[in-house]
Amino acid sequence: MVDKTNINKVGLKCSYKDLTLGMMVYGEKTSEAFKTGEWTSVQPVVDEEKCINCLMCVPVCPDSCITVVDGKRSPFDYDHCKGCGICVKNCPPKAISMKGVK
Amino acid sequence: MSGNGLTEIRWHGRGGQGAKTAALLLADVAFKNDYYVQGFPEYGPERMGAPITAYNRISRREIHVHSNIYHPDYVAVVDEGLLDTVDVTAGLSEDGAIIINTAKTPDEIRPKLGGYKGKVFTIDAKKVSVECLGKNFPNSPMLSAVVKVSDIMPFDEFLAEMENSYAHKFSSKPEVIEGNMNALKMAYEEVKE
């Protein structure tokens, strides 16, 4: 088993000598450590009263931020949500809305 | 063979006649007789029937030169018709010789050679080929004539190597080996000076 790419080592101030061979990225799920949720200015918020747990928001999320746990919708993964709003458009009972983030 | 142990031969033929194959075969047999060899054609876009040139260098020492041959010791002309359009004796050594595939005698053909003073040999390669093989494949008789005239190697050694080479080349149709061998032997006898 080879080590995963340590993206903490390959940071903005690293030397060229610290880069991986040909910039290859080794190991699975390396994107998990990259918090793309920092990019957004808005986030989806669920009104739990209105949610009917139809799970229609799950497959449409382009960043896999909404998953299914024990047959139920998981809380949103704000570390990786870029605030695209597709879940809002796609929610049948209109239970999701966008809120600004600081 | 010139003083430094190098023999240079230029072949003139037409695309598809086997002049290149003859040059490669000559390189082959000379190699088997422990010579350093080069056999190469002068390439352009391949065109059946167009004039082509092929070359041989055969030497007792390593060959470094990679140019065409401009001052050959011998010239072999596989197609008589080329005498009207190609300057086949260009740069040819007067101490060398030209070997031409024709039914004519050397005296009859010499006027077409632009005043060349060296030796002229003719061989009716078509006749030899048709008699021995039933078809016109002029390159085997021409090869034989070139080996005889240039005296690159003893003829019996040449024949032995050619027999090996044919046995390999025609392994699926051994019946043609005898005809080819006969063509080589007959050409040897038929060369006229």
Partner: protein, 393 residues
């Protein structure tokens, strides 16, 4: 035990490839390199190699397939010439930047136009800054030996870059000459197994090849790549040393012929070097101190070493078999001139463009070049640095 044979340059390449037995060959036919995939695919059909042969619909696809298979962990090769290489342009850079040690056996042919099938170096010289290692050959023996050494150089852990093994179209690719071949076992052992540390087909460690690099990383990525190419120089020497142990044939970064006391030198690449040796021999008999440097490794370029080899010459001709369209200097002219300048060399240098589109190079041509060098040395100046030889004025 070595085997004596007589092969054309293309046959020699196919023979080396049969012995190397790479995992994948992807190729598209183009004159004068067509015979290489033709012979090799026959070996595949005959079961003489275990390789996968991928017939593709273009050279763009050939290089793409080679990159894909090499990234998957398979030792891969392709062959091409001229316009075929031009169509690989984008992928050449990708193979290098992705650090994939694949091999391209190039048969040098002029780039169109006008369209021409004969030899010059415009194809590989155009790709000289693509990040590949480039090694050139004088004859069939050298292209065979260079190919046997290709993967050990390319795959070395300090290098991991693609390698281009070049020979002159028709002049060597289609000329049958004597050659000494290694035993199959010797080549197999010398080349060894390809075991990359990471590859796409490793289920234990999924790998992403060729990810986007933003401005913050691109420069560093290129710097790392440059370091690898720099390392290729020493590795080329080390591999040649190992190769000499099994074959007795020694190779350096370049060959020096009669350079010990040379006053007039020619620096040249490819088959014309052999013709130049003959010219040197003739001139030496007349007492002219002529010498020759034949480039083997062009990328990375051994500039310092060449400047050192030229330190005592009075005049040197840098021979480029390609036109650079810069009214300044050809690729070899630029590299050697820079090296001479850096070394504060006193040699008077002149840069010739010669032999384009298969224009033949005769011994007498090279003698003329040496005569010109003597004239330059006598006059003590070079009127025109960038000039042409053998073209009708």
């Amino acid at each position: 035990m070595a085997r004596k044979d007589r092969l054309s340059g293309n046959e020699a390449v196919a023979e080396a490839l049969r012995q190397i037995n790479p995992d994948v060959m992807a190729a598209f036919p183009i004159t004068p390199s067509t015979e290489i995939p033709q012979y090799f695919s026959k070996y595949v059909a005959q079961g003489k190699v275990d390789s996968e042969f991928i017939p593709v619909e273009s050279e763009h696809s050939a290089m793409s397939a080679v990159i894909g298979s090499q990234a998957a962990g398979a030792r891969s090769v392709t062959a091409t010439s001229s316009a075929g290489m031009a169509l690989m342009w984008e992928e050449l850079y990708l193979a290098a930047s992705n650090r994939l040690p694949c091999c391209l056996t190039l048969v040098n042919r002029a780039l169109s136009g006008p369209i021409n099938i004969n030899c010059d170096h415009s194809d590989s010289m155009g790709a000289r800054d693509a990040g590949w290692i480039q090694i050139y050959a004088e004859n069939n023996q050298e292209v065979y030996d260079n190919l046997c050494m290709a993967y050990p150089i390319a795959e070395h852990k300090d290098v991991q870059l693609p390698i281009m093994i070049c020979q002159d179209g028709f002049i060597t690719s289609h000329a049958v000459e004597n050659i000494i071949l290694n035993e199959d076992e010797e080549v197999k052992n010398f080349v060894g197994e390809y075991n990359p540390e990471h590859c796409l087909l490793d289920p234990e460690c999924p790998t992403a090849v060729g990810p986007y690099s933003v401005t913050n990383y691109y420069f560093e990525a290129k710097r790392a790549q440059a370091e690898a190419l720099k390392n290729a120089k020493q590795v080329t020497l080390d591999v040649a040393k190992e190769y000499a142990k099994i074959t007795g044939r020694e190779y350096g970064l370049f060959e020096e012929y009669m350079m010990e006391d040379a006053e007039y030198a020619v620096v040249i690449i490819g088959s014309a070097a052999g013709t130049t040796k003959e010219a040197v021999d003739r001139l030496r008999k007349e007492g002219v101190k002529a010498g020759l440097i034949k480039i083997r490794l062009f990328r990375p370029f051994p500039g310092e070493e060449i400047a050192e080899a030229l330190k005592n010459v009075k005049a040197v001709a840098l021979m480029d078999r390609t036109e650079s369209y810069n009214d300044c200097c050809g690729p070899l002219g630029a590299e050697v001139s820079t090296a001479l300048y850096r070394a504060n060399a006193k040699a008077l240098a002149v840069n010739y463009v010669y032999g384009l589109g298969g224009r033949d190079v005769k011994v007498s041509d090279m003698v003329n070049i040496y005569n010109e060098l003597q004239k330059i040395a006598e006059e003590g100046k070079v009127e025109e640095f960038y000039r042409y030889y053998g073209v009708r004025s």
